[in-house]
Subunit: 569 residues, 2 copies
């Protein structure tokens, strides 16, 4: 009956740490739920619970331009996928003592700590006496050789916990020859057998470049990637999802569901909810599938249909007018963070503004506006005054207009308001409109991982350990068959080069893992598209409620994944 929280004191490892930013969760006070999660026993795929061997598949190619990828990765191109399969006895030497490093790269995603736990436990279970180093603060930690040795005591309080604070993360990249050199020095200094890079598309591309570099220089250090991003845009057939997506979407969906019930109870607000996801709209789509909002904007659709801001506004206003006729003057609208980036005319306007602001005087009488093209001028005049002002005044250090600072949800509220006012005067709208804006972002990146993310990450880490144990490099940890119970999940690795294409930048080919965007002919979008008309006018709201860790609801997997796997219709 008491809310008293237990004091977790981890005496042993206290002396090991330097900078306060990675001081560890020593003597942390944990909530009851946090505490209950620490000792949550994680299931493992049966293939890694029993003796296994690693089987190679056929040689791989690339996602595009295989010839260029082959040139960029002469040592790694064409590597086969690796798959763990049951075996009479373990085929890998258990007397090896490995030295492995691990690094977190980029934005937080729930489950990162479990990947590290998975690697650690693999090494403990299969290569007793191995050492795991955690590089601090992202790839910069590799270059500056800032690390801690991860011990059982140190890792313990982070098990099944959100955040990246065990070793923290960073956005630096290892890409110049000098930086590669620093990485080599660290690998040599620590005598590293392997390195696990936990990150998104960019980080995994760089992981592969590092693997290629080490291999090219005949260094023993192998590199394995792990798919991390709440945005859900790093995925392919072999890597069905990136970790963190499941948890983040469920946290946002909890909030959206609550706001929906509020909207229906109050009956007088339209809630405009902007959701994280600058490049792809997977989060927005998944949240829509979980909650059934009245209006959902998917950036990829806006781009494919070459919609303008006016089109988007009109779509919203049309639905709002129809709902008003039905007596509903409330609703919930989901918008992806990156919406503006998907609208070509906005990009054009921004480019023109940057040009004008750099070279011309912006006069009070608005004569400067004559320098805009007709289309851009029309768009500019269509924007609410506050947004116009923001575009003109807020610039980054290079003097560029800051699109990222525009609060899309507030802008849309103003545009919808203006358009509704017009329709009211025309007599085609009879309701009343009041917008409320929300942005759900930071709340979802560091929540306690769901049972799915906790297990998935643990398996990813365990897989990474197995791949390094068997001497693999340049692979991304791959756990499959995710619609089945954890016991039946498949475990292996996929050649990072097989995920790659090239982009031409500054006259050179650069390898990239293309972001997986929402596919308009994919199952998740098609399901959404088949239902959205109903959702618009009827109120089909679903409130997913808070993430549960125990009971039937605790093992639900997100719709996107199940639909893509064909496990849901």
């Amino acid at each position: 009956m008491s809310a008293a929280s237990f004091e977790y004191t981890n005496g042993g490892a206290a002396a090991a740490f330097g900078t306060p930013s990675v001081s560890g969760r020593l003597a942390s006070v944990y909530s009851q739920v946090q505490t209950s999660r620490i000792d949550h026993a994680l299931p493992l795929p049966s293939v890694v619970r029993n003796p296994f061997k690693i089987v190679d598949g056929p040689p791989s190619s690339a996602a595009g331009n295989p010839d260029e990828i082959a040139k960029l990765f002469p040592n790694l191109f064409g590597q086969p996928p690796a798959m763990l399969v049951p075996n009479g006895a373990d085929s890998l030497r258990s007397d090896l003592k490995l030295k492995i490093g691990v690094v977190l790269s980029g934005g937080q995603a729930p489950g990162g700590h479990n990947v590290i736990s998975g690697i650690f436990d693999y090494l403990q279970d299969r290569t007793k006496g191995s050492i795991l180093y955690g590089f601090k603060g992202g790839p910069a930690g590799i270059m500056k050789c800032k690390y801690i040795e991860l011990t059982s005591d140190y890792i313990y309080p982070y098990r099944n916990q959100g955040g990246f604070d065990m070793i923290c993360s960073g956005r630096d990249k290892i890409e110049t020859p000098e930086q590669f050199k620093q990485a080599e020095e660290t690998a040599a200094k620590l005598d590293l057998d392997g390195l696990v890079v936990i990150g998104g598309d960019d980080s995994n591309t760089n992981a592969c470049l590092l693997a290629e570099n080490f291999r090219g220089k005949k260094l023993k250090t192998r590199v394995i990637g792990c798919p991390k991003t709440i945005d859900g845009d790093l995925k392919c057939k072999e890597v069905p999802t990136s970790f963190g997506f499941d948890t983040a979407c469920k946290i946002y969906a909890e909030m959206i569901g609550n706001v929906m019930i509020d909207a229906r109870s109050t009956g007088k607000y339209y809630h405009f909810v902007r959701l994280m996801g600058r490049a792809a709209s997977h989060i927005t789509l998944e949240c829509a599938l979980q909650t059934h909002p009245n209006i959902t904007i998917i950036g990829e659709e806006v781009a494919a249909k070459k919609q303008t801001l006016k089109n988007v506004t009109d779509y919203m206003v049309d639905v709002i007018c129809k709902r008003a006729e039905l007596g509903y003057n409330y609703g919930v609208i989901l918008i992806p963070e990156g919406l503006i980036d998907f609208i070509p005319e906005v990009q054009q306007l921004i480019a023109e503004l940057n040009e004008i602001l750099a070279h011309d005087i912006v006069d009070e009488n608005g004569l400067w506006k004559k320098k805009l093209t007709e289309q851009s001028l029309k768009l500019f005049d269509f924007l609410p005054p506050a947004i116009q002002e923001q575009l003109m005044l807020e610039r980054d250090p290079h003097g560029n207009v800051q699109v990222a600072k525009i609060e899309t949800e507030k802008m849309l509220i103003q545009m919808v308001e203006t358009e509704l006012e017009k329709r009211k005067q025309e007599g085609s709208y009879i309701g009343h409109f009041k917008g409320q804006s929300h942005f759900f972002g930071y709340e979802g990146r560091c929540g306690l991982p769901t049972n799915f993310d906790a297990s998935y990450c643990y398996a990813l880490g365990y897989a990474a350990g197995a791949l390094l144990h068997s001497g693999k490099t340049g692979l991304i940890s791959s756990v499959g068959n995710l619609a089945a119970p954890v016991e039946e999940w498949t475990v292996g690795g996929t050649a990072l080069t097989s995920l790659m294409d090239v982009e031409r930048r500054h006259g050179k080919f650069k390898p990239v893992i293309k972001k997986a965007m929402v596919e308009l002919d994919g199952a998740p979008f098609k399901k959404f598209a088949s239902m959205r008309k109903d959702w618009a006018l009827k109120n089909c709201y679903i409130s997913p409620g808070p993430i549960q860790f125990v009971g039937a609801a605790s093992n639900a997997v997100n719709h996107t994944l199940l639909l893509e796997l064909g496990a849901q219709s």
Copy 2:
């Protein structure tokens, strides 16, 4: 393993409803968590599970000015509290068939549906054949006689669910003679034996006026109040807490905890979190006790110490500077929604601005500013330009400055930024500062009620049923001993007049239930005050995680209540 949600179809009651705004949750699709909650068996205090009688206590007085309260409530003043106690046999007639109305008044709070379920189940259990009417859209539903008959089938899908959408709510008041007349007509038309008003301080005051009015006119309709508000500012010895506070705080604390882990993982943001609660800062205080933020502003303390906006800013900046010296350039800061209202100098400035804007021309050169008093001018110049502009431009229909529209968290970020810049130039600050703003409000009002709120509300409703059954009026449903298991909770009613004082308005005495503010010598604030220095510089963050409905963590009760009951130290 599937996220598929079950389709709840409630065929029977479909025909009963008219307006789309209260169309009921018919054929609603429910999430797994929602579904699991519908059939959650609610415990009841043992006193109502067994035969009981109702015992009156000693006559009551008033919270202040008893003579005036006695004049305002000649028929009800001095009523004793009522307490249910075990009895050999039930003392109330079970052959009575009652006609009872229920109304939700004011803002949403998790658990409202359970109060209604509690009333309904009491009537079913103890006065078979009784009828429960739900007035639609708040007190206006009483005046306009808009209602539905609540049946078992209709109530079922709302059990343990958030929101007020079963009958919706409203903010109208029944206070003029004409309005009282309308209420009388409705009571007569429906032959009402009783009415339960579920609301906050104002609504319960009005409930008592209605009870007095009915009694004065010798009508049979009795009125019982129920304490509802997430703000937690309706409470006294006999009514230890208002429902919804527990759930709302836990939802906000989940988000705050997630943001904390993000802050620590990222290491570069100060998150300014504004929390609902315009009058009192209970929510902010409770969230602080649950999560241990670096800085928490309690409105009542700001008012008591007559702090200025500059004082508040300086306090924040001092902590931020000290943290920077320790290497921490991140943190989490909680701010109550009503902060600005607690600062006397801001009130003064607003008053002067309203005066000036009403009568003078605001010239571009700022000559109008000379009309401000010295103190107000100083404050105005201290405000960030965006806020100055907002104060000058955004007015309500009466031409008044709109304080409510000021996003306090954004204003404080700007003020802190400016002050830090100054200190940087003086050499007393060496860090880097980046603020992120959040407002947690609508997300918490309609969440699925916690086990505590679910049980508490059910007991409140059951108690209201018992009080009406025994012919009581002018009482507020009172459930006590809340630190003990539900079985041991006490059940009764407290004279609403005993909670009242008077305020002088327009030369007349008006009865009011004074809002319970955060008491600076109360246990919750004292606990907070004893720990906040530690929280400021060390990172003692606690992440409460999502509300759990099963397991040990599911029965935790909020700190404020336990501390006030002396059940936690």
